[in-house]
């Protein structure tokens, strides 16, 4: 028993070390890339650090961006752990956002019930959008990677139609909806910043996902389905059912991320409220090694990166696309290190 515990702790330490090395290696390459385009890498990194955690405001902004990434990352890791490759976080986020705006514009219920309704409804909407590929995979073995990616595009076009058509703010110039009612908005946590109560929801989701996934028979079955569907079937677990459940939970968390972006940050719906959070969630889940605690740190890391590079872009002329290159490199190195970890076992 002690031996097993030691082994587990050791391997966690190794995984953390290797993740850090992967990030370092990625930044080393980025330094070379920056140097090549004539930017001082040290100055750029300084700006990235300052822009992400250098002041109260920037810390608040970073935590604000952490919120959707955390929820989406948790959702993505639930799906990946269950052997379902849900790449549809982006579309599911928009479907959740759609419901949040609907509540904020057209529903008025007493007190905090509006927010509660938006909260539950956006979870359901994200789930509903995710059930389509989940069901198709479970029943017909249709490749969910392709269907989730394609449904993202469908969702985004649908949002485009809604904000340019039926839900367009009649007095606005841009294709946005009107501002949602105050009762559907999340309150600000730190005055003078944009940090809102959505962060608390995301933080609360970490232990919930952990307990559900690691401490219940329900979560155990989902993990078995992901690790070895044949064994699961042999053990009497309905693989199809758990595939759909994984998509429901995954899509629901993504939908929640959409609601929080609307109710907490934008207070309206427009095209592009997500700068690719749904795709970034894949990076968050992989760097976080599909574990709630890891996902939390990975979400903070990528949120800092987004804000940091935006600041470095303004001050040091670092190209904005650099974010995606860094993300890609970090993921590549993390993946390659997967091989090293496996060889040790």
């Amino acid at each position: 028993m002690m031996g097993l515990r030691n082994l587990l702790q050791q391997s966690v330490l190794i995984e953390i070390t290797i993740s850090f090395l992967a990030i370092l290696a990625a930044f080393a390459l980025v330094a070379i890339l920056l140097f090549l385009i004539g930017t001082d890498p040290l100055l750029a990194f300084q700006q990235i650090l300052y822009g992400s955690v250098g002041s109260t405001y920037s810390i608040a902004e970073t935590l604000g961006r952490t919120t959707p990434l955390l929820l989406l990352g948790l959702g993505t890791s639930i799906a990946f752990r269950s052997g379902v490759w849900n790449i549809g976080g982006e579309g599911q986020l928009y479907m959740g956002a759609l419901f949040a705006v609907f509540t904020g514009l057209y529903v008025s219920t007493p007190g905090p019930t509006t927010l509660l309704l938006a909260f539950l409804g956006s979870f359901v909407c994200g789930s509903a959008w995710a059930i389509i590929p989940g069901f198709l995979k479970a029943r017909l073995e249709v490749n969910e990677i392709i269907t989730t990616v394609l449904l993202n595009f469908v969702a985004i076009y649908f949002i485009g139609y809604m904000v340019r058509g039926p839900w367009r703010d009649p007095i606005g110039i841009n294709p946005y909806t009107a501002i949602i009612s105050a009762s559907a908005q999340l309150s600000i946590l730190v005055p003078g910043t944009r940090l809102h109560a959505g962060l608390l929801v995301a933080i609360l989701a970490i232990p919930i996902v952990y307990l559900l996934f690691w401490k219940t028979i329900f979560g155990y079955r989902m993990r078995v389905v992901g690790a070895n569907p044949k064994a699961a079937r042999y053990g009497g677990i309905s693989v199809a059912r758990y595939i759909v459940i994984a998509m429901v939970l995954s899509g629901g968390l993504s939908g929640l991320a959409g609601m929080i972006e609307v109710s907490g940050v934008h207070h309206r719906l427009m095209e592009g409220i997500s700068p690719g959070y749904g795709y970034l969630a894949i990076a968050v889940a992989i760097l976080g090694r599909l574990h709630p605690v890891g996902v939390c740190f990975a979400a903070i890391f990528f949120a800092s990166l987004l804000n940091g590079v935006a600041a470095a872009h303004r001050l040091a002329g670092v190209p904005l696309g650099m974010v995606n290159v860094i993300i890609g490199l970090v993921m590549l190195f993390v993946l390659a290190s997967e091989f090293l970890i496996r060889r040790r076992r």
Binding site: L140, V142, I145, V149, Y157, I282, G321, V323, N324, L332
Partner: protein, 314 residues
């Protein structure tokens, strides 16, 4: 009224021409993917390779000429594929995650390169596009002449590629080796076939073709580069391979069907149908899902698809 216009010669010619133009990038990417999957590797990085092909084609055409662009696109696609081969064939990393990561890497790198070359303040440069080649006599035939014999060189190359691929895959020793590796790598190795060599070669070819498809999109269709311009065509190509049951000729059929429906949709919209543009724009994506549902369960993928191979057993 609309019915009359549908029967118009100009309309039909335009429609068929557009069908081929839309189908061509898909044909390149999907034929490449066919070889990759036949050898037992699922390349979900196809989208990223198309994006890098698009930016390489654009830059080559912008600085030099179209042919330099196409050559660059081949190299760009193959380079990413080489990375994929090293990671998923040599290191045996999960092909699905590897593909997704390379897709996102390609998305990031292509945007970055574009911004590094064209500063934000400058307007997007437009390319002249590919010039059509007129095949003597045949190009004078009404409708068919314009559709089939007045196209640019790449479209002829795409058609040739399909036929050559079909022959190579099913009528040559190399093709049989590829199929054997995809179905049963262990048995193939016993017969003296180098599994790693075959998978590397197929991936390199698949990456180069994806790059070429992306470049055709940038150089021949859109005539510029736009961020994320491939817009899931890489994934649609993967879907077409499933639809085509891993057979080049059937893949071509699928690509043409797809191109035809999209071309029809665009033309109906141009005729003034009163539908918000977002709905026709959704069609290709919904259509691909419908196609996948239709062929579901009937599709028989290569037996070792997605399973990393370890020499000498685990």
């Amino acid at each position: 009224m609309i019915v009359l216009e549908l029967l118009d010669v100009v309309f039909i010619t335009g429609f068929l021409e557009a069908t081929i133009r839309i189908a061509t990038p898909l044909v390149f990417a999907a034929i490449g993917e066919t070889f990759v999957e036949r050898s037992g590797v699922l390349n979900l990085g196809c989208e990223g390779m198309m994006l890098l092909g698009a930016i390489a084609g654009f830059i080559g055409a912008y600085w030099g000429n179209l042919w330099i662009g196409l050559a660059l696109a081949l190299v760009a696609g193959a380079s990413i594929a080489l990375l994929m081969a090293f990671m998923s064939v040599t290191l045996r990393i999960n092909q699905i995650i590897n593909g997704i990561v390379l897709w996102i890497f390609g998305l990031g790198l292509s945007t970055y390169i574009y911004r590094a070359v064209i500063p934000i303040k400058e307007p997007t440069p437009l390319l002249t596009g590919l010039q059509p080649i007129y095949i003597p006599f045949l190009s004078d035939i009404p409708i068919l002449g314009k559709v089939l014999f007045q196209q640019n060189a790449l479209i002829y190359i795409a058609l040739l590629l399909v036929i050559v691929s079909q022959v190579i895959l099913f009528r040559t020793k190399v093709g049989l080796h590829i199929i054997a590796v995809g179905e049963n790598p262990r048995a193939a190795e016993t017969l003296g076939i180098n599994v790693f060599q075959i998978r590397f070669a197929c991936l390199l070819f698949g990456g180069a073709m994806a790059g070429l498809g992306g470049a055709f999109l940038a150089v021949g269709v859109v005539k510029t580069f736009v961020e994320n311009m491939v817009a899931a065509r890489g994934f649609i190509a993967v879907a077409l391979v499933i639809f085509g049951k891993w057979r080049p000729l059937r893949v071509l059929g699928g690509a043409l069907l797809f191109g035809g429906l999209e071309a029809l949709q665009m033309r109906l919209l141009a005729l003034g149908l009163d539908v918000p543009y977002q709905f026709p724009a959704m069609l290709p994506y919904i259509l691909t899902i419908v196609v996948l549902i239709l062929v579901a369960r009937k599709a028989e993928a290569p037996a070792s698809l997605c399973i990393p191979y370890k020499k000498g057993g685990d």
